[in-house]
């Protein structure tokens, strides 16, 4: 539905959206830079979102190229609100529950990193009270599941056909069987129906896959705990499995039983035809959910910037600030763990069993990462989406609790899905041609976590979704609900905007064609010499690893000279060997992909985190500048193609209508497609903070470049 008579300004309401409160003559600062520039308008709060309705929004004639159809520039879904601050006499105070005094300014920090500043000084007191308490209440206080906008939307929306796409949802037995077949895991693993009616566990999906030798009886014995559940099979037959561990048991008897049960299971799946089994207790080898939450809370704070002064003040100590959040280190550790698992599967040919109490948190991150690294299908759009369905959505990750969508328990919150996306982003930026999707895709996917239109990220399990889809609502006229899936991108984006989610660099797997091969394969050369005078010898496979190891043993005996800098005398860690040997070979974008995890290679996902900060904007710069040139050129090639076809068929040349993608792309903002401010500043951004002292180098600092006494030779 569009427009609502009750509201004077034109506002786009979703079906099922209800206005809850509003305030007039609210002043929204364009950017808190002290200039106080901004616009007046109306601030409203609905059961879906908080929205600022610009009074002169009519002037919005230059439609941005990349626009979300549901969430506008000035819309904040209730689930997207991170924190709300009130400003009282220049002092910021966090607003949570009941308010006694109403602030003159409202600052809303969003989970997608936007920051809104609203001035309420010109608003009627009554309206201030209503809007502030309304916004705080609806976005910050505990909520019932059924109060999520998801349900209003689904019940009011005319039968959503849900444009079926290629994403495998893993909600049928067929989907699992197909996946087993695809990965050739069907010889040793089977899809089971034991959980129909959720008689095993409400946490497990209706259908899942276990080793063929595991009986229905044992699955039922401990509600699915202690059962290896199949995630994926490697080309060599080795499989990635996960298992929900037994909680610490006080009772000796029970724990004895559990131990015996586990021993039995391990015995069964360690025997042929099963590969050697390696178990990996993730809760002891990875940061805890609490660590991850703490790190992210600190990390995101670095990007929720109030003004320019803030930006430059934090710039001086930027690297140590970043490090102190620990977020990048956590990313590094997860990537490293995933490489370790990949090494076991790929090189040691052994099965890997990931163990975690619920097997729905750390397990999801690691199993997804391993598949992204090892299975090029997971690097296509539909493959990645299917992976998220398999490991996360159907797999039972508690999105509702981990995102704290209902504000039920802050302690349950942990950004595990964001962690996965950030890890995948690291791979995307290290190997651009390997992914069918772009970083923009990952960014909008992360934003979709907070859009309560799609069911994808708003349930804790398949069971919870199922019971709430039908359940009691059958009695009312509203059910069963037909929820939308986030994978139907047309709900959020027009085709033109969707084009920005596809990677123009993606090198689709070519059919063997010798002439093609030659040009696309990289000659990967290490430069040990000056680049200008390269020799004919082209270091290839094993240059840096096997041969030299062999050498060390053969020509030098056991004792290693004292001036080896590298610690090659320490016991050879198979991980390092695997990692180094992979990195010394040319990259096959369709094969195994290992991230570089050296310090300089783990970066801040600038597009997601810096996108709303005007100071960080480079007009005409950034990676988008080159990407735009590629898109332009592709367009040109395409139109040539059309012309050639026409010439060829000798048809009368009609006007070729190429889709103009990014014309005048030279001046796109580096923050494209996200920059809030379309303004192209002519003034350069200048640091305002001052240089800090070089404490430890005082003597050097005071010296002059070259000490020459100039006073003597003056006439």
């Amino acid at each position: 539905g569009r427009g609502d008579g009750a509201i004077g300004l034109s506002v786009c309401f979703c079906t099922g959206e209800l206005l809850l409160c509003e305030a007039n003559t609210v002043y929204k600062y364009i950017q808190e830079d002290g200039s106080n520039r901004g616009t007046y308008g109306k601030l409203i709060c609905t059961n879906f979102k908080i929205s600022f309705l610009d009074e002169d929004s009519a002037s919005d004639d230059n439609e941005p190229q990349f626009k979300n159809k549901i969430i506008g520039e000035n819309d904040i879904t209730l689930q997207c609100v991170d924190q709300i601050y009130g400003v009282y006499d220049e002092k910021k105070k966090l607003l949570t529950g009941q308010l006694r005094k109403y602030p003159e300014k409202l600052i809303i920090y969003c989970k997608d990193l936007r920051v809104f500043h609203f001035c309420l000084r010109y608003t009627k007191e009554e309206e201030v009270k209503r809007i502030v308490s309304g916004i705080v209440h609806h976005s910050q206080t505990p909520k019932l599941l059924k109060r999520l906008f998801l349900f209003s939307y689904a019940s009011a929306a005319p039968n959503n056909t849900g444009g079926r796409n290629q994403t495998v949802m893993f909600d049928t037995l067929e989907d699992w069987r197909d996946e087993l077949e695809r990965t050739k895991g069907n010889v040793k693993y089977k899809a089971v129906v034991t959980n129909e009616g959720y008689r095993v566990s409400e946490k497990l999906p209706l259908y899942f896959v276990v080793p063929i030798c595991v009986s229905e009886e044992s699955i039922l014995k401990f509600q699915g705990r202690g059962i290896p559940i199949w995630c994926w099979s490697c080309h060599n037959g080795a499989a990635l499995l996960k298992m929900s561990a037994f909680p610490k048991e006080q009772d000796d008897n029970t724990s004895q039983m559990q131990k015996a049960f586990l021993d039995g299971i391990y015995r069964t799946i360690s025997n042929p035809p099963y590969e050697l089994l390696k178990t990996e207790d993730l809760s002891s080898s990875l940061p805890s959910l609490q660590d991850i939450q703490t790190a992210y809370t600190r990390f995101k704070q670095l990007f929720l910037i109030d003004n320019s002064t803030d930006f430059w003040a934090t710039d001086v100590k930027w690297f140590s600030l970043l490090e102190s959040t620990n977020w990048l280190e956590i990313i590094r550790r997860f990537l490293k763990k995933a490489i370790e698992v990949a090494e076991c599967l790929e090189r040691q040919n052994s099965n890997v069993l990931l163990i975690e109490e619920s097997a729905t948190d750390l397990c999801c991150v690691i199993s997804s990462l391993v598949q992204v690294m090892m299975d090029s299908y997971s690097r296509t759009k539909s493959g990645f989406q299917s992976l998220i369905q398999k490991e996360w959505v159907t797999g039972g990750h508690s999105f509702l609790d981990r995102c704290n969508h209902l504000h039920k328990n802050d302690k349950e919150e942990a950004p595990l899905f964001l962690l996965l996306l950030d890890c995948v982003w690291q791979l995307v930026q290290q190997y651009p041609p390997a992914f069918e999707f772009t970083e923009t895709y990952l960014t909008v996917l992360s934003d979709s976590l907070y859009v309560p239109i799609f069911s994808t990220f708003f349930f804790n399990s398949q069971h919870q979704k199922d019971t709430n889809t039908t359940g009691e609502s059958l009695k009312t006229q509203s059910g069963p609900f037909k929820f939308l899936t986030v994978w139907d991108w047309s709900v959020q984006f027009e085709p033109k905007a969707q084009a920005l989610l596809s990677n123009p660099l993606y090198a689709e797997k070519l059919k063997p064609d010798k002439s093609q091969r030659k040009t696309t394969r990289f000659k990967h050369q290490r430069q040990l010499s000056l680049p200008l005078t390269q020799t004919k010898s082209s270091p290839k496979r094993g240059f840096f690893r096997e041969e030299t190891d062999h050498l060390i043993k053969n020509i030098l005996g056991k004792r290693i000279g004292k001036f080896i800098i590298n610690s090659s005398d320490e016991p050879h860690n198979s991980f390092k060997e695997f990692y180094d040997s992979w990195h010394s070979k040319p990259v096959d974008y369709h094969g195994l992909l290992l991230p570089s995890i050296d310090g300089p290679e783990i970066k801040v996902w600038a597009q997601r985190y810096l996108r709303w900060i005007p100071e960080a904007q480079l007009p005409g710069g950034g990676t988008i500048a080159t990407a735009a040139k590629i898109l332009d050129l592709m367009e040109e090639v395409q139109s040539l193609q059309v012309k050639m076809d026409e010439e060829h068929s000798q048809a009368i040349s009609r006007d070729v209508q190429a889709v103009p993608m990014l014309r005048n792309s030279a001046r796109l903002s580096s923050l494209f497609p996200f920059a809030l401010l379309q303004r192209q500043s002519i003034k350069p951004a200048l640091p305002t903070s001052t240089w800090k002292d070089l404490e430890d180098e005082d003597d050097l600092v005071k010296r002059d470049d070259e000490f020459v006494d100039l006073s003597g030779d003056m006439s």
């Binding site: 690297f319 990289f522 680049p531 005996g557 090639v637 030279a666 050097l700 070259e706």
Partner: protein, 573 residues
């Protein structure tokens, strides 16, 4: 059969069996060859062959490791410190005088200046299709800027380097200042480096001037001629606003300089000028900073606490300050409100960084390959950046306090800009790395010696050596950025924020095999493929059109269906 690369004019001196102590992969048995230009190592019994190819010019220090009585395998040998962020270690057999010979040969050829020997550049007989010495002609460059004009004139007062022996012979000064005035001003400027024009804004006529510090001293001396000269400069852009002076130094250092006779322009003496300090530190601080950087990246990249380690080197903070200073200079000039005078102490280190970076931001010509060569030639080489002292070409005094990576820091700033604006520069990363490699190699005359006067008086360099630009301009395609989009008159301001500044991994950590250098860059490669495809289609289309126009009824038999040929182009629309 032992084929080692050899340049024309390069002669073999000696060779020897050694064990190369590779810091990444352990000892490698090989044979090292030394010529008058390079050290070349080729491994034996390894497949593939390990090769080291190091111009002797990059060697900063050669040390002996262990003694005749040293025990343990490979504890006896040579440790070579290089100027390009690496160390080379070779283990030798303890018998004979094997080490002494190689040490002496290396020392002699790596440090020819300390042994009264010429640089390899004078022996180099390479031939190139382009002559790099023709790239920079000061008169042409000033003419390109629209000079001389009614307010600015070219003076030959320094033709024989009589006014200032570290300046070029040709200078541009205000029309209203006589050569006599210039001489008087020279007496009040450190090393006679008077304010002269570097660049003029084509539209608003505001200028960038460069010079050294005024000789104010403890007593706060004044000089009427200097004061008047600065006023003439201020007026020359037709504006009545103040002249902006950027002193590159931190305030305290500028004050401290008074003790040795230097100083800065006081408000009393120069009421029509506004002075700002840019807080850029001296050459010693920069040298220490780079040393610390090397410590965390070579041979191994700091494992834990990478970010705080990087921060503690301060390298990127210095880069940030230099860029910030240059942005201020450029912004001031481009706003048209005032001309700018830049100096530090002597005006050949920080000043060169600031003026040339500001010019790069303001004038798109300098973002082309040839324009950048002109810029380096002009602001650095001709205006007396002391390359010989800062790099220590052929000089064994590795601990010389005059050495400092000022030019490297400048190139890093340029790289940061090119990284932020990947379509704005005609040259690629390889171009910048090549410049840095030959900053040390002594294969070309380009960076040798401290000033134009030395170059001219002592060596008549252009006839006896080759220019680096000859090499580059002869194979330009190798150094060209395919994404370059020509844009005229667009000021390009980088964002000098730590959020955007990055460590130049492909330069500083390039010796580490664990740092993956995707060569060629996949984005670039994709673009090149598309370009080739487009050209191919255009050619075919033209052919088709000709065929069709000549009304040959059926031409389709001659070529395959175009859509078949194009099946591998992905479009995503």
């Amino acid at each position: 059969n032992e084929e080692i690369p050899r340049l024309p004019g390069e002669t073999r001196v000696t060779d020897k069996d050694v064990i190369y102590m590779c810091p990444f992969n352990g000892p490698v048995k090989g044979r090292v060859y030394i010529t008058n230009y390079r050290l070349y190592l080729r491994s034996v019994e390894t497949d593939p062959v390990v090769v080291l190819n190091v111009p002797l010019g990059v060697i900063s220090r050669i040390e002996k490791m262990g003694g005749a009585s040293s025990r343990g395998e490979n504890s006896y040998g040579l440790d070579i410190t290089c100027k390009d962020m690496r160390n080379l270690r070779f283990a030798l057999k303890q018998e004979g005088h094997s080490r002494r010979d190689i040490f002496e040969v290396l020392t002699k050829h790596a440090f020819p200046q300390s042994h009264n020997l010429p640089f390899f550049a004078f022996a180099n007989e390479e031939k190139f299709s382009e002559n790099g010495w023709m790239v920079y002609n000061p008169m042409c460059e000033y003419r390109r800027q629209g000079l001389p004009n009614e307010r600015w004139r070219v003076t030959f007062i320094n033709e024989h380097y009589g006014l200032c022996d570290t300046y070029p012979s040709l200078l541009v000064v205000p029309y209203n200042a006589t050569d006599d005035d210039l001489k008087k001003v020279a007496a009040f400027r450190s090393r006679n480096r008077i304010p002269v024009l570097s660049w003029i804004h084509p539209e608003n006529q505001a200028v960038i001037m460069r010079c050294s510090q005024p000789l104010v001293g403890m007593s706060g001396k004044r000089n009427k001629d200097d004061e008047r000269y600065l006023d003439i400069i201020r007026e020359a852009n037709g504006q009545i606003s103040k002249l902006t002076i950027y002193d590159a130094r931190p305030n305290v250092n500028a004050v401290a300089n008074k003790a040795t006779g230097g100083g800065y322009e006081s408000e009393d003496a120069y009421p029509n000028a506004e002075l700002f300090f840019l807080d850029i530190h001296n050459i010693h601080v920069m040298r220490e900073s780079l040393k610390k950087l090397k410590d965390i990246v070579y041979p191994n990249v700091e494992e834990s606490h990478w970010l705080s380690s990087l921060e503690s080197t301060h390298w990127l903070e210095h880069i940030k300050l230099v860029l910030t200073g240059a942005i201020q200079v450029a912004d001031k000039v481009s706003s048209g409100r005032s001309s700018v005078l830049v100096h530090c102490s002597d005006g050949w280190d920080r000043t060169a960084q600031l003026t040339s970076l500001a010019m790069l931001m303001l004038d798109s010509y300098y973002r082309t390959i040839e324009g950048f060569e002109v810029l380096v030639q002009k602001e650095w080489i001709s205006f007396g950046h002391k390359f010989a002292s800062r790099i220590g070409h052929g000089d064994k005094n590795h601990a010389d306090a005059d050495r400092s990576p000022i030019f490297l820091q400048y190139i890093d700033c340029v790289w940061q800009m090119s990284k932020q604006f990947p379509t704005a520069f005609e040259f690629n990363e390889q171009f910048l790395i090549t410049i840095l490699d030959h900053l040390y190699s002594c294969r070309f005359g380009t960076f040798l010696y401290n000033s134009e006067s030395v170059r001219e008086k002592e060596v008549s360099q252009a006839t006896k050596t080759l220019s680096l630009w000859s090499l580059i301009n002869s194979e330009k395609s190798k150094f060209t950025n395919p994404f370059y989009t020509k844009e005229l008159n667009r000021a390009l301001y980088p964002v000098a924020s730590m959020r955007h500044l990055e460590l130049w991994v492909n330069y500083y950590i390039r010796w580490n095999p664990r740092i993956r250098q995707q060569q060629p860059n996949p984005v670039e490669q994709r673009y090149m493929e598309l370009l080739a495809l487009r050209d191919d289609y255009m050619r075919r289309l033209e052919e088709l059109q000709i065929t069709n126009n000549s009304k040959i009824p059926n031409s389709s038999a001659s070529s395959a269906s175009p859509s078949q040929m194009m099946s591998h182009v992905q479009t995503h629309f």
